[in-house]
């Protein structure tokens, strides 16, 4: 389960940087130092390797029993995932807004509605321009 920011910050501060959690992780594909991971878990920009690691982590919990000080790296990873997800959602919302603005710019003159009768239709109905 997730934990609030204050508790995650406490756990990060308690990390002794032994690297055991990363060594036991089956999702870690690229080399990342524990300092980098700790630094980017709560704040600041997320680097490409850390982002990929957060995307690939499947919260199996293999990092928890190996920690010599009993920290929960999985809850820290949930926090990193939440940060990523929040930024992802913000980015998507921003892009959607940009697209809508672009669409408004591209609209040009107002288009005829699909249901509006054409000039032939008006003629058929007996309506003639003066």
């Amino acid at each position: 389960m997730h934990r609030p920011r204050s508790q995650v910050a406490e756990e990060l501060a308690a990390c002794i940087r032994c690297n055991q959690c990363l060594a036991a992780c089956p999702a870690l594909a690229a080399p990342i130092t524990i300092e980098t991971l700790n630094r980017q878990t709560l704040d600041g920009p997320i680097s490409a390797p850390v982002m990929r690691f957060a995307q690939n982590c499947y919260l199996c919990g293999a990092c928890v029993p190996v920690c010599p000080v009993g920290l929960h790296r999985d809850t820290m990873m949930i926090w990193l995932k939440m940060r990523l997800l929040r930024k992802n959602n913000e980015q998507e919302a921003y892009e959607q807004e940009e697209d809508e603005l672009q669409d408004e710019d591209d609209l040009g003159p107002p288009r005829r509605s699909r249901y509006a009768p054409t000039s032939q239709e008006w003629s058929r109905r007996g309506w003639h321009d003066e």
């Binding site: 997730h2 690297n19 055991q20 690229a30 990342i32 997320i46 293999a62 190996v66 995932k81 992802n88």
Partner: protein
């Protein structure tokens, strides 16, 4: 020791967490290419095998497929488990072992299917084959769950966390406490109006606790000629408005609390799914190993009898 490839001056990428299209690691790519090449080779071999006259699980080629498949399954199955549980100091990442575990499992099953060659008569062999199919299928389903369940769990967790990163439930509790305090103050003021407020200053606590101040203010300070300080004596209409506001606040808080509880439940469910499925995969692997041993015993008996 690991080295950090990330340079501090490298611009941070746009944070993304897509459902699909996550970049695969080099270990996964190499394992996939190996599986593809092996698959093509095995398909070619099987075609040649089907053109011969001796197509049976106990033929020469059948035995070769059986031995190769069993050896591969044991190698990648036990190799990954031993590396994970015992061989933490072994060279190579666990991630690489996992990639080969997946690829080896699928290729091993293909080899065993080639060994069977459509012959499902011996009961022990058929059960062992079904067991292996179940293990590989559970592994594939597990990988799909590993892809989606953590994202769903994080998404649910995000709903339960406030913008400042604390539990939203705690904020709601505070809000409810405030509503309860207001309610208490109103009741006190109503009681004071009905029964009268004592004029004696000794009645009032001159060193009140902070949380008692709203209630004390609502009592007001009176002399025997009437109120001389009345900070919070709401009128009837004001009281009705306050009650309506209170009901609305309480309703909103309740609705929000229910949604947070549902998000917590969802998060727990997704996390449990990942772990339970892993146990199911392990149990199926053990069952398949038992069935394989049973079939090997059957095959050995058959061979001994033949000799």
């Amino acid at each position: 020791m690991t080295n950090n490839r990330y340079q501090p001056h490298e611009p941070a990428p746009t944070p993304r967490y897509p459902w699909f299209g996550i970049r695969h690691s080099s270990a996964q790519r190499v394992a996939f290419l190996f599986a593809l090449a092996s698959g093509v080779g095995l398909a070619f071999l099987y075609r040649r095998y089907m053109q011969t006259n001796d197509i049976a699980p106990d033929s020469k080629m059948g035995y070769i497929f059986a031995i190769a498949g069993t050896a591969l399954l044991l190698l990648v199955g036990l190799g990954y488990v031993i590396r994970k549980r015992l061989g933490r100091r072994w060279p190579g990442r666990l991630h690489t072992f996992l990639a080969w575990h997946m690829v080896g499992g699928i290729l091993g099953l293909v080899l065993i299917l080639m060994h069977a060659a459509g012959n499902f008569n011996p009961r022990s062999g058929t059960y062992a084959l079904y067991g292996l199919i179940a293990v590989v299928a559970s592994g594939i389903v597990g990988r799909v769950l590993d892809r989606f369940a953590p994202r769903l769990a994080a998404s649910a967790a995000l709903e339960a966390i406030s913008a400042s990163g604390e539990e939203r439930m705690d904020d709601l509790e505070q809000e409810l406490e405030y509503v309860a305090d207001t309610e208490r103050a109103l009741r006190t003021s109503r009681a004071a109006r009905e029964h009268g407020v004592p004029w004696d200053l000794a009645y009032y606590d001159l060193d009140p606790e902070v949380e008692d101040i709203p209630a004390l203010l609502s009592q007001g300070v009176r002399s025997d000629t009437g109120p001389i300080l009345n900070l919070a004596q709401p009128s009837d209409s004001h009281r009705i408005l306050l009650a309506a506001e209170r009901r609305q606040t309480t309703g909103n808080v309740m609705r929000e609390a229910i949604s947070i509880r549902a998000a917590n439940r969802r998060e727990r469910l997704h996390l449990q799914t990942i772990r339970v499925w892993r146990r199911i995969h392990t149990l199926l692997s053990l069952a398949a190993l038992g069935l394989l041993a049973w079939h090997l015993e059957y095959a050995v008996t058959l061979l001994m009898g033949a000799h």
